[in-house]
């Protein structure tokens, strides 16, 4: 088994990638993919925790949590994509830097 810190570090790095995507990318779809990436990082963390901290066996509880969270995440992404569709119809672009009618 690999040391636990590697898994923790991996999930932190993946989360960092996801947040970087949301913070710096102009394209809205890329930001939504960033959300997915962050959620995946958390799932990775859950599974890693389930292995390393339960003294020999894998705790199925964490995997149920991941499955529930995946379904919830699916709901969020569905709403996000439908909003993206509508936003494209209104703004004719997916550039979030242009979508700032509401400011100040």
């Amino acid at each position: 088994m690999l040391p636990f810190e590697w898994y923790l570090g991996l999930s932190i790095i993946v989360m960092g990638i996801g947040i970087f995507a949301i913070a710096t990318r102009k394209n809205l779809i890329k930001q939504i993919i960033g959300i997915e990436i962050i959620i995946s990082a958390v799932h990775l963390n859950f599974i890693a925790m389930s292995l390393y901290f339960r003294n020999g066996y894998v705790d199925p509880f964490a995997q149920t949590i991941v499955i529930v969270s995946m379904s919830v995440g699916a709901g969020i992404i569905a709403v996000a994509l439908s909003l993206t569709l509508k936003a494209y119809q209104h703004y004719k672009t997916l550039n979030t830097r242009r979508m700032n009618k509401l400011k100040w």
């Binding site: 979030t96 830097r97 979508m99 400011k103 100040w104």
Partner: protein, 668 residues
């Protein structure tokens, strides 16, 4: 001999009547008007029924015949449970209630009686006004709130009344916000916009003073919690056990808390540095100015200082941080009296002169009360001086404002240089206004003379010479601006404007419903001067704690009072000062021997002083500068909300990073 539930009903009835005003309006105009006035009449009855209780020393219910308690009588009810804070398995409460003691009954009688007179006067003054429902609502709500303020038995409930009168004052100042006539102020297109602005300014400036009052109330509540185990704001408990002052001194914040407590009165009673809302508040109807800004609301600050004075005085012997409080009160009163009196010298509008005069006289009251604290065992002289001047000022200032209202009603202008020569056309108004101005200036034998005598005596016998000198300077300025006002309004040739009004409508005297209150107030201001000893007897429970001896007999008091008022050295000094102020005004404005404008324009120094005073020492401009800075800062900061999603997320990340760094720092 009080009626049942009198202290409660005195303020509940006007509040409930105010809320029911729309209902009464549907029932008919007369029902509405008379129910509004009737509610205040009932308040007068309830308030005055408490007077005999104070004089006899016990609260005695006249209908059931039972004695409720001795004066001061605190009728408390449990109000807000705050859990079991001292661990004795009994639920603890913050209490509410009413206090029947000399000061509160004194104020209740003044407020309700003068309120009644002004409400009757309003029938004539506001005749034909379309928005009377709103007017009666706010006037009744105001008088109810003011009565709540003065009869409250604890600081928190008093603050309820305090803020409620602030809201009423705002709404009543801006009462004529629908006026469409063009405004003389270049910032506003119509008079209505100007009126709305003045009301808002009054509300904001007084709220600024109130926030310091709130924090001091909260700290006092907590100090009592630390000292007694249960938080309380009750005046009686604060007075009886001064352990909480010790707690405050122990934490080192006693002086700050007491000065913050005074900041509320600075705002509400228009003392320096928050005095600039009161001149603008003259935009409201004159009845509003008379009620709120002369007789009652601005006295709320003086009331609070008078209420807290015996408590702090008792504490001053033990903890010395409180001497600063009294010095601050006295000096702010003195500075205010001086600045406002100088502003009044050059004011163009009739009501503004009266406004500045009000601020100045309130300064006198604060001066007296502050001096009381600094006077050692002679504190009772300053206390009596301050409270007696409160009553005298309420009466003659209400009188002056109501007379001014009659003049404005007739002449339709607010500028004194557009008046003149009204003496023959408005004889009643002239005579009563003359009595009022004489009382204001302190000419014997009117009430103002006796109350100013009390103030001067208090300052003289306690060797507070610096304050005495300032009071003396103001005593010179007061007759000058008072008689300047009388002269410009009633004497001299008629201006063009007056001649035009005379041709169109004719210059007529005010109707009876307006002149009868004027005469009542004028007669009161003549006789209340002689009620000084009665006031001393009335306040006996309070002033014995301030160093007075027991009142032996009323006759001896009267003899001493009259002898002292007419033959002591302070009498001589005050008569000299009044003459120095009166004769130039008489010469310039009544006899019209010289033209003041010419004198001022030819002399550079006088011109400079005139500009400074006309712009009210540029203090008003300072307020607008400060608000301009705030708006500039806000416009700079709002640019942070760029509305771009990436920037928002970056902000979030910065927040997370900051929190992580914070925790790391804490770990080190």
């Amino acid at each position: 001999m009080m009626l049942p539930y009198a202290p409660w009903l005195a303020w509940l009835i006007p509040l409930i009547t105010a809320i029911l005003m729309p209902v009464f309006n549907k029932l008919g105009k007369k029902v509405r008007d008379y129910s509004a006035i009737g509610a205040i009449f009932l308040s007068v009855i309830f308030s005055f029924s408490l007077v005999l209780d104070i004089l006899y020393g016990k609260a005695y219910n006249i209908l059931t015949g039972e004695t409720l308690g001795t004066i001061p009588y605190d009728w408390e009810i449990n109000w807000l449970p705050i859990g079991d804070v001292n661990g004795d398995s009994v639920l603890d409460y913050i209490t509410a209630g009413v206090l029947v003691d000399p000061l509160s009954v004194f104020m209740m009688c003044i407020v309700s009686f003068i309120g009644l007179l002004i409400m009757i006067y309003s029938l004539g003054y506001m005749h034909g006004e379309p928005d009377m429902v709103r007017y009666w609502f706010w006037m009744d709500f105001f008088i109810g709130s003011m009565l709540l303020l003065v009869s409250a038995d604890n600081l928190l409930q008093m603050f309820y009344g305090w803020e409620m009168v602030g809201v009423c004052s705002w709404q009543l100042i801006s009462f004529w916000y629908k006026s469409k006539s063009p405004s003389d102020d270049p910032r506003f297109p119509t008079e209505g916009a100007y009126n709305a602005h003045c009301g808002l300014k009054a509300f904001i400036v007084t709220s600024f003073g109130d926030i310091f009052l709130v924090i001091s109330i909260a700290v006092i509540g907590f100090a009592t919690w630390a000292a007694f185990g249960v938080p309380t704001f009750n005046f009686m408990k604060l007075a009886q056990q001064t352990g909480w002052i010790g707690e405050l001194a122990h934490w080192g914040i006693l002086t700050i808390v007491s000065i913050f407590l005074f900041t509320g009165p600075i705002g509400k009673s228009a003392q320096f540095p928050l005095q600039e809302w009161l001149p603008e508040a003259m935009a409201g109807p004159t009845t509003v100015s008379a009620l709120i800004h002369a007789a009652t609301m601005v006295k709320a600050g003086v009331y609070l200082v008078a209420r807290i004075l015996p408590i702090f005085y008792a504490g001053m012997g033990i903890y010395d941080g409180l001497a600063t409080f009294f010095t601050v009160v006295a000096w702010i009163g003195a500075i205010t009296a001086f600045i406002a009196a100088t502003d009044g010298l050059v004011a163009r509008e009739l009501k503004k002169v009266l406004a500045f005069s009000t601020i100045s006289q309130l300064g006198y009251m604060m001066l007296a009360l502050g001096a009381a604290g600094l006077s050692g065992t002679l504190a009772y002289t300053g206390y009596l001086a301050g409270t007696f001047h409160l009553m005298a000022h309420a009466i003659f200032k209400a009188l002056l404002f109501l007379c001014a209202g009659a003049v404005l009603h007739t002449v339709h202008t607010k500028y004194m240089d557009q008046m003149g020569g009204l003496k023959e056309h408005m004889p009643t108004t002239y005579k009563t206004m003359l009595i009022g101005a004489a009382s204001l200036s302190g000419i014997p034998p009117f009430a103002g003379f006796f109350s100013k005598e009390l103030i001067f005596t208090a300052l003289w016998t306690t060797d507070l010479l610096a304050l005495f000198i300032v009071a003396g300077v103001v005593a010179v300025l007061t007759p000058f601006y008072s008689f300047r006002m009388i002269g410009l309004t009633f004497f001299g040739p008629k201006s063009e404007h007056v001649k035009k009004i005379e041709e169109e409508h004719g210059l007529h005297e005010a109707p009876k419903v307006m002149t009868i209150p004027l005469w009542i107030l004028a007669i009161l201001t003549i006789i209340t001067g002689f009620t000084g000893p009665l006031a001393e007897r009335f306040f006996e429970p309070v002033i014995t704690s301030l160093g007075a001896g027991h009142i032996t007999s009323l006759e001896e008091l009267y003899v001493e009072y009259l002898v002292h008022s007419f033959t002591s050295i302070t009498t001589l000094i005050s008569l000299v000062l009044i003459s120095i102020g009166f004769f130039p005004a008489y010469y310039i404005y009544i006899k019209r021997k010289v033209d003041p404008k010419a004198i001022v324009e030819n002399n550079a120094l006088l011109r400079g002083i005139y500009t400074l005073l006309y712009n009210r020492w540029y203090w008003n401009a300072l307020y607008y500068k400060i608000s301009g800075v705030a708006i500039w800062v806000a416009n700079r900061i709002r640019k942070v909300q760029t509305g771009v999603l990436n920037v928002n997320v970056l902000g979030m990340l910065l927040g997370f990073a900051a929190m992580l760094i914070y925790i790391l720092l804490m770990f080190m």
